[in-house]
């Protein structure tokens, strides 16, 4: 059996190599079995593709991938500071690891319960309020907290929730749940709170003031 030929050296006066080349894998030896000629590279390509897919680092959960984003609903004509009630679903606040917007396994049950609440209370818009701990800089934390809120939004949509009812708002590091500087305080601050728009608030007249 013949091992594939690989160029390991190039003559000094030869043009610069464009890369290492693998010689065709003894195709002539198998000319009598055309399916083998096709099957071998095909098998190799498929296996390589599979391996490449396995080894590509997955830095983000698939549910935040750009092309999977379900369009954001238009802003509601309310003031999120006063017209959203975060007490109702307080127990379902989703917590995150440091510098991460990945929804941990421990938090998924909460989102199933949020979906149950949405099913029991149809047409009630929710606010997903993203927060970060104060480590990091304000603008970065605002972006990170928004991504946390959007990760929760996409997870709920994945469970079957209606995207049009799911609004995000990012408070970055500006509104800590716990004021201290311990690791426990920071863990409590890396969160997405789920708020319910108060009944009747959406019908309120007038734009938020400029």
């Amino acid at each position: 059996m013949q091992a594939p030929t690989i160029h390991t050296r190039h003559p000094a006066d030869a043009p610069p190599p464009s890369g290492c080349a693998v010689a065709p894998a003894s195709a002539s030896a198998h000319a009598a079995h055309p399916w083998r000629v096709i099957a071998l590279p095909l098998f190799a390509i498929l296996t390589l593709t599979f391996l490449a897919a396995c080894t590509t680092p997955q830095k983000r959960p698939a549910n935040t991938a750009d092309d999977m984003v379900v369009p954001m609903p238009a802003r509601l004509d309310i003031n999120p500071d006063t017209d959203v009630d975060y007490a109702i679903l307080r127990g379902e606040t989703v917590y995150f690891a440091y510098d991460s917007s990945i929804i941990q396994a421990s938090e998924r049950g909460k989102l199933s319960r949020v979906l149950e609440w949405m099913t029991a209370n149809p047409r009630r818009p929710l606010f997903l309020a993203g927060h970060a701990d104060k480590r990091g800089t304000p603008e970065y934390n605002r972006g990170l907290a928004e991504r946390r809120a959007q990760a929760v939004r996409m997870y709920l949509i994945g469970l079957g929730a209606e995207g049009e009812l799911l609004h995000t708002i990012s408070y970055g590091e500006e509104r800590p749940a716990s004021q201290g500087d311990s690791e426990q305080d920071y863990a409590l601050n890396r969160r997405v709170e789920i708020g319910v728009v108060r009944e009747g608030a959406v019908q309120r007249q007038g734009q938020p003031q400029n």
Partner: protein, 453 residues
């Protein structure tokens, strides 16, 4: 693209052993060949893939040395002999300061004004103000008509500055200091600059401005909400900032002369981190209206139907904190698309290449491009602390300039000093000597500084 000839052959004995082993397992020659081909292909693939990825990731971000970036910018010439602004580039080192005799300023506030002028000149790190005879002599009278001021070369009597500065005496003195600095060193002074910052000392984050020497603190907002991320227009007449005044994070522009505020970006999601383009017509900012927080460019007049924001980035991470190059063709920003926040440079028009800056930390945020185009300051994390870093575009080298902590650094006009915050206090840092000076001791809860240029 050229690749190194980094390939692998299997030793003969190994090949035979493998062949025997496979045969003993009843595997056909074909399958053995396929497996071996695969093995080699995979090894080969792994050698190739990271090489290709690396080659693309680490393309040096600096274009060839930058003098061409800003042809009109004065080059550094701290120059005793050289005619100001006459041209040869000398590296600023902190040595060889220009001696200037500051004569006592006459008038009721004269004594304080004299001290202020001398402090301003010292702070530049380029000038050594003295009360004794020196190469240059600064004289001024403070009266009802303003500050009548003059700078002379004592050797030949040549007058380098001869102006009457109107307005408040502090502003007048600061402007005189900047004119002296520029006339004798060719480097723009920053004594007349102002710092915009946020402070939560009243219980909510409000916007303030003050002179760079800590005087004239002025509160700009009293909204009792979150005000954040101020940025100056290049003509220093406007500030863009983020406010949660409507309940949502929106971008506003405030005109300093009148105090008039306009809400310019209020799309669904976040609207934040706006930075004025050098020509003053556009904002670069972060919006999440299309899902992920991404960078966009929009006119300062706001995004109407005819002027929808143009999207610059498309990633799975969050893009924040854009800062324009002085020529306006490029933007440096922070992205955590690769896991931790890192700095990237892209074109300010869609479709350009994006290059990552190779810096001294894997956690870097809040970049600010220097007015001379040669450096970028940023916040880095090292050993659990945030520190101020400076990246030099020409030599592609980054240094950490603080040891006791710092964040939100922002250049002054001389492209040498930065203003930053640490533990709620505002500091001025000389990036050459790496000395930090507290600007004012009685401020609390300050952050997010921006220096007028």
């Amino acid at each position: 693209m050229q690749l190194p000839p980094r390939c692998h052959t299997l030793p003969d004995s190994l090949r035979k052993a493998a062949s025997r082993a496979l045969r003993s397992l009843g595997v056909t020659r074909f399958a053995a060949l396929a497996a071996l081909t695969l093995l080699v292909a995979i090894t080969f693939g792994f050698t190739l893939i990271p090489t290709a990825a690396l080659a693309q990731d680490d393309i040096p971000t600096a274009r060839p040395a930058t003098p061409a970036l800003q042809p009109d910018a004065p080059t550094a010439a701290p120059a005793a002999e050289a005619d100001p602004g006459a041209g040869s580039t000398i590296q600023v080192t902190g040595a060889a300061k220009v001696d200037i005799q500051v004569q006592s300023i006459s008038g009721t506030e004269g004594s304080t004004a004299t001290t202020t002028l001398m402090t301003d000149l010292s702070r530049s790190q380029l000038i050594n103000p003295t009360t004794t005879q020196a190469k240059y002599s600064a004289t001024a009278q403070l009266g009802s008509g303003g500050l009548v001021a003059r700078l002379t070369d004592t050797a030949n009597g040549r007058v380098l500055v001869n102006k009457t500065y109107s307005g408040a005496w502090r502003d007048a003195v600061h402007q005189f200091a900047d004119d002296i600095t520029f006339a004798t060193t060719g480097i723009p002074g920053f004594a007349s600059s102002k710092i915009a910052f946020v402070s939560n000392s009243t219980g909510s984050k409000e916007l303030y401005i003050m002179d760079i020497d800590g005087h004239n603190v002025r509160q700009l907002t009293s909204d009792r909400t979150i005000s954040s991320s101020p940025a100056w227009s290049r003509d220093n007449t406007m500030l863009a900032y983020t406010s949660y005044k409507s309940g949502y994070p929106d971008v506003y522009i405030i005109k300093l002369a009148t105090g008039q505020r306009t809400r310019v970006a209020y799309f669904p999601g976040i609207n934040s981190g706006a930075a004025f383009s050098p020509d003053g017509t556009r904002l670069a900012l972060t919006l999440s209206k299309d899902g992920n927080p991404e960078l966009y460019i929009m006119p300062i007049t706001g995004g109407g139907n005819n002027a929808a924001p143009v999207r610059l980035t498309r990633t799975r991470g969050a893009e924040t904190s854009p800062s324009w190059s002085p020529t306006g063709d490029r933007i440096v920003f922070c992205s955590d698309d690769r896991g931790s926040p890192q700095l990237f440079i892209t074109s300010s028009t869609p479709g350009g290449n994006t290059d990552r800056l190779s810096l001294n930390s894997t956690f870097t945020t809040e970049p600010d491009w220097s007015p001379d185009g040669r450096k970028i300051t940023y916040t880095l994390r090292a050993g659990g602390l945030f520190q101020i870093g400076v990246y030099d575009m020409a030599v592609r080298n980054s240094v950490q300039c603080t040891t006791t902590g710092g964040q939100d650094s922002n250049w002054t006009r001389d492209s040498r000093h930065v203003v930053y915050t640490n533990n709620g206090q505002i500091y001025l840092l000389d990036t050459v000597t790496r000395q930090s000076t507290l600007i004012r001791g009685d401020l609390k809860g300050c952050g997010e500084v921006a220096v007028s240029k």
